[in-house]
Amino acid sequence: MQEAIRRVWIPLPRVAGIDMSVTNDVALLWVAAALTFVVLLPVCRRRTLVARGFYQNLVEGLIELVEREIVADSVGRRGRFWASFLLTLFFFILFSNLLGLVPLPQVFESVTADINVAAALALMVFGVTVFLSIRRRGLLGFARSFLPAGVPWWLGFLVVPIEIISWVARPISLAVRLFANMMAGHALLFVFIGLAMGSVALLKPLPLAGAIFMDVFELFVCFIQAFIFTMLAGIYIREAMEET
């Protein structure tokens, strides 16, 4: 598996020891963000009471899907900001995933197939849930939540590490799930394309058909992974808001 080449486009000075130069990956992040903005803005600002046209229906359908299946069950009407957070998360991950389907592998790739991006998003969700939990219960209450009510104190040495592991496993599972799925799908796609290019003329249609099938399947995976990531984020946020 060939690693993508990281190219520095705009060199910037280090901040707290971190290289903040704008690379091709950062540019792809901006492309994904710009796509999210460009796709959502016209639909969101079109003040029609009834959705008209394929485009508006499609985007509003996706928005309502996230609102109904994730937002309503997690933050509900308690916080419109967190509804915006989940909607932005879904569309940002969706367009980041979809970038990998653009048939220009030297220019476009799924930024979510980069562990740094997947980890950043997962850590952000983790940070949000910790913040909401602490805001809800206070720092001491948050610390106490690692020993659930009803558990004898002397079992703490066993339960507390398990609870900590379960908390820490959340961002790891979120990041790895997204990263691995996007990476595997695209790796398989590249394998089929490589086979199609390398095989004899008579056998070329087979891997090409496999590549086309994988491309369509990847479209589905891009959507599903964005949905799963957002849904889990919604569940974690709901748990953090409901903790007593």
Binding site: E3, L29, V43, C44, L89, F92, V111, A113, I115, N116
Partner: protein
């Protein structure tokens, strides 16, 4: 696909997402929430209006049924009254006709009686005349001087005895 740890990309991801979230929540999601709320309100209002309209339709249907029932009852009453009046009128007409017939009959009877009496009078007169004539004829046939003289004598005799 990249497995190299790049803290700069992590930070840029967070910055990009935060920027996108701030911009979208201000310029996109706020109007969207407004329009979705408006749509929800409109749907609820439409449902409420539909329910009210259904109630109104039901109320009007009941009122119409009541009016129809009242109209049917009124029509039946009028029909019954008309039948009753027609029967009364028929009876009255019959009575009137009977009265007129009786009057005509009585008049006819009177007229008949009058005619009979007149006829009888005429008959009596005719019979009397005929009797006189018959008597005259008989007398003329049976009277001769001797008989005439005997009758005169007899009359004179009876007159004398009477006086």
């Amino acid at each position: 696909m990249n497995l190299t740890i790049d803290p700069g990309l992590v930070v840029w991801t967070l910055i990009t997402f935060a920027g996108l979230l701030l911009v979208l929540s201000r310029v996109a999601f706020k109007p969207l929430q407004k329009i979705l709320s408006e749509r929800e309100r409109l749907i609820e209002e439409s449902l409420r209006k539909a329910a009210e309209a259904a109630e109104e339709v039901e109320r009007i249907r009941r009122r119409n049924e009541e009016a129809m029932g009242a109209a049917r009852a009124e029509a039946a009453r009028i029909l019954e009254e008309s039948r009753h009046l027609a029967a009364e009128a028929r009876q009255e007409s019959l009575r009137e006709a009977r009265r007129e017939a009786e009057a005509i009959l009585a008049e006819a009877r009177n007229e008949m009686d009058r005619e009979i009496r007149r006829g009888l009078d005429e008959l009596k007169q005719t019979v009397a005349n005929l009797s006189v004539r018959v008597a005259q004829e008989v007398i003329r046939e049976e009277m001769n001087p001797e008989r005439h003289e005997a009758l005169v004598k007899d009359f004179v005799e009876r007159l004398k005895r009477a006086s």
